[in-house]
């Protein structure tokens, strides 16, 4: 990330671009914008996918281009970078709060039991609806590649957990 006082305005434009799968979260909050380079009116934005198969990447690249071109920049070049690999640690604190308010449990700050061990105890995740810790994992694969499926034993609601990665 190269956010500085000089290019702060550019970064804040990208805060207007949301992840189409999780529309409350900006791509900056998600940590998928890695770099912005400006030469005159030309911009090169480097983004990284959460998962290799994330189908939102093409939509996100198009949205970035539209947002920045609407602000008068041209050309806007989008570069894809996969190294270093994206991690949930790159999600902003602000982003995690917005996820929770939206009903998705944010990734735990520190991976607890996300190990290679088989039949390991499930990670303790707080219900985003009623804040109970009395929850259980239904499946480590959820509605999108980045989420796992949980249910709450207190309020009985199912919910997505943005799994550690």
């Amino acid at each position: 990330m190269n956010r500085t006082a000089e290019n702060n305005a550019l970064w804040s434009y990208l805060e207007e671009v949301v992840d189409p799968e999780i529309p409350v979260l900006s791509i900056v909050d998600m940590g998928i914008v890695r770099d912005i380079q400006q030469t005159g009116q030309a911009l090169t934005v480097t983004i990284t996918p959460t998962y290799t198969g994330c189908p939102a990447m093409d939509v996100i690249a198009a949205a970035i281009r539209m947002e920045l071109m609407a602000k008068g920049f041209s050309p806007v070049i989008i570069k894809n970078s996969i190294s270093p690999a994206w991690t949930t640690d790159w999600m902003t604190e602000h982003g995690k709060q917005k996820l929770k308010a939206y009903g998705i449990a944010p990734p735990n700050p520190k991976q607890q039991v996300c190990s290679d061990e088989l039949f390991a105890p499930h990670e303790a995740v707080q219900c985003p609806h009623c804040n109970s810790w009395h929850t259980s994992r239904i499946s480590e694969f959820g509605s999108t590649a980045c989420k796992a499926l949980y249910k709450c034993a207190a309020c009985k609601e199912p919910f997505d957990y943005f799994k550690c990665h």
Partner: protein
Amino acid sequence: MTQSYTNYILHLADNALILGQRNAEWCGHGPVLEQDIAITNISLDLIGQARSLYQYAAELKGNGATEDSLAFLRTEREFKNCLLAEQPNGDWAQTILRQFFVSTFQFYLYQSLLTHSDSTLAAIAEKSLKEVRYHLRWGSEWVIRLGDGTEESARRMNKAVSELWCYTGEFFVPADYETAAGSDPAGLKDAFYSKVREVFTQASLAVPENVFMHTGGKNGMHTEHLGFILSDLQYMQRAYPGCEW
């Protein structure tokens, strides 16, 4: 970069694409909803990995090649995936075991590629490895759950072992392009079988011995199944060349 190196990247991509396509056949047919979602999530990861590799292969190849032309417009004999990846889904046990074998192999392979001199390949391996860890854990747990489960699930898992074991040997017989790329799959053999033995022991499954191993996929000599997969996979681009939506 040489033609041989491009072939190596295509081999890695084809393994991921063909297994991803096979797993996708489960979409809407999984034994329970959560596992239907799991196997299709794994499918999506594999297709994502295949895309990264095809994009890179297209760049190396030049001459207007794209990830789409490589996936949709090559013929059966040009595909370099291992025979295991193209084997039919069979029942859930067979799908699970196939995934477990491939994930175990990919786990050790991608680890070895992290230090490859080609930094683009190393980056793809680093990204893919994070996903493969999930697949391997999930596959291992299912092999144990079924092998050590009921009489019926154990019977099916044993049947899957007898169907698929003979395709595991191909991973470790290097094709010319693997050797030229500085990849030594034979060196991963011990790690692979020791992981398999560990999981099979927990699953109460016997490890077969002295089985004839089929090879050929890496050099384009496939089982009869691949042609059918490609006819599904490539139909749109063959019928409507260049179609987009």
